[in-house]
Subunit: 264 residues, 2 copies
């Protein structure tokens, strides 16, 4: 039987609240066994960018990562947020180690090719681009990786990569060796039938049900990349994937029937 590995993704809204983040990190630190934390960026980069006069560039509604912006997100995600999380986890008795994809060549990405839009320094990842031997070696030493959404192209460039995708790729890559259990944690209880009613979460969502809901515009726009990533992992050997509330993490990892949406 494979050993369990919890891959936990925490989103921006929790990161933006010091109190919520502290509570979440206490819960993460308390999870028994091997675990990886993947964090997003929150609003800190946008606020810092405003102060520095770095504007958010959009082309056809899509965000562009130019040279100033990749410096900004590297400072914020790999520097400020990642190290604060790592230091907080150390204080809670969890021997955390921060990572960008460049560190130890953990995740190598490909700069997104220019078709109609040049997204700038944005990286897409193949499933086989994860240094799983380094991850396994650290986990075997009870050192828990904390991964920020910055990767690299192997040619000296840092790249901005979606944190949901990073969590998915890590879960898939590690599924060959371990029983990967992926939790996308955010501020709602799961995929909701009614976005204003947190109790309306769907307990189990399969691809055809998801496609049907998407067709009826019943899926909130921001959820689509998360769910697309989640369905990919299920197809690629990840043991289980939940979309759930950050504050149900402790009960969910220890419970056969988590509160949240299981992707099946």
């Amino acid at each position: 039987m494979k050993e369990k590995l919890f891959i936990i993704k925490i989103g921006g809204n929790v990161i933006d609240s010091p109190k919520a983040l502290d509570r979440f990190l206490s819960d993460f630190a308390a999870i028994k066994g091997k675990k990886i934390l993947v964090h997003g960026g929150g609003k800190i980069a946008t606020e810092l960018g405003k102060k520095l006069g770095i504007e958010t560039k959009m082309v056809e509604g899509r965000r562009i990562t130019d040279a100033d912006t990749i410096d900004l997100v590297t400072m914020t995600y790999a520097g400020l947020i990642n190290k604060k999380i790592v230091a907080a986890l150390q204080a809670k008795g969890c021997n955390a180690i921060g990572f960008s994809g460049a560190d130890g060549n953990l995740i190598q990405a490909i700069r997104r090719p220019v078709k109609t839009i040049d997204y700038g320094f944005v990286g897409d990842i193949a499933d086989d681009s994860v240094n799983t031997s380094l991850l396994s070696s650290l986990l075997d030493q009870d050192v828990m990786p904390v991964v920020c959404p910055i990767t690299h192209d192997g040619e000296g460039h840092l790249l901005n990569t979606n944190a949901d995708t990073i969590a998915a790729v890590l879960a898939i890559a590690m599924a060959k060796k371990m029983e990967s259990r992926l939790f996308y944690c955010f501020e709602k209880n799961g995929v909701l039938r009614d976005v204003n009613d947190d109790s309306s979460f769907i307990a189990e969502l399969n691809q055809s049900h998801y496609d049907e809901m998407k067709g009826k515009n019943q899926i909130y726009e921001g959820m689509i990349p998360k769910l697309d990533n989640a369905f990919q992992t299920v197809a690629k050997g990840v043991h289980s994937v939940y979309i759930c509330n950050a504050f149900h993490l402790t009960s969910n990892v220890n419970n056969a029937q988590p509160i949240g949406t299981r992707i099946s």
Copy 2:
């Protein structure tokens, strides 16, 4: 016989020049065997601080690290500079991994106690506060640590720590297992008799000669912490310590008679 370990400290002036840094990193990547890079901060943090309205605070001529400043240096040192160096080394075929002292509990420090001055978030390190088992495990996997001058206190606070001290502490801690060879690299050829003549470097400097030179004000002020650190390492089992030019690194690590000042 113990295996060699090169601990290389690179200072601010080289970091501030992209061209000089690139050349130095090529030389670092080319060093055969196990190695650790420790980098300082350069002027980037000061320039960024000005843009963000974070003033450099001084009390009695000493720099104070307040809450805004520790955030600023964490972003700059652990984020921007560290990750750019790591990505550049990856492109040069060196599997580098970035570290603050919080990551993997690499270096735990003690917040400097308040006597007459409160230095703020500044950390002092004991020699036994290094996670040498993690360092050894990474080096054994040919993963080379790149360490920025940020530590932590184990209670959730990040601390600003002198990079020369970090290099010294790492060299001392690893000297129990390996033949630690420490190189403080900067823009001069060594400790100079005449600060305007780069050929006037002193080939070997011992404690009494150093004390004599200090007494006569012949040591440039900025060199004193570097040299104080260097003499400590010699007394604590480090095989050899040189103060040398960043651009002599390749020849110096391979040469029994390096160009630079040997501390003895």
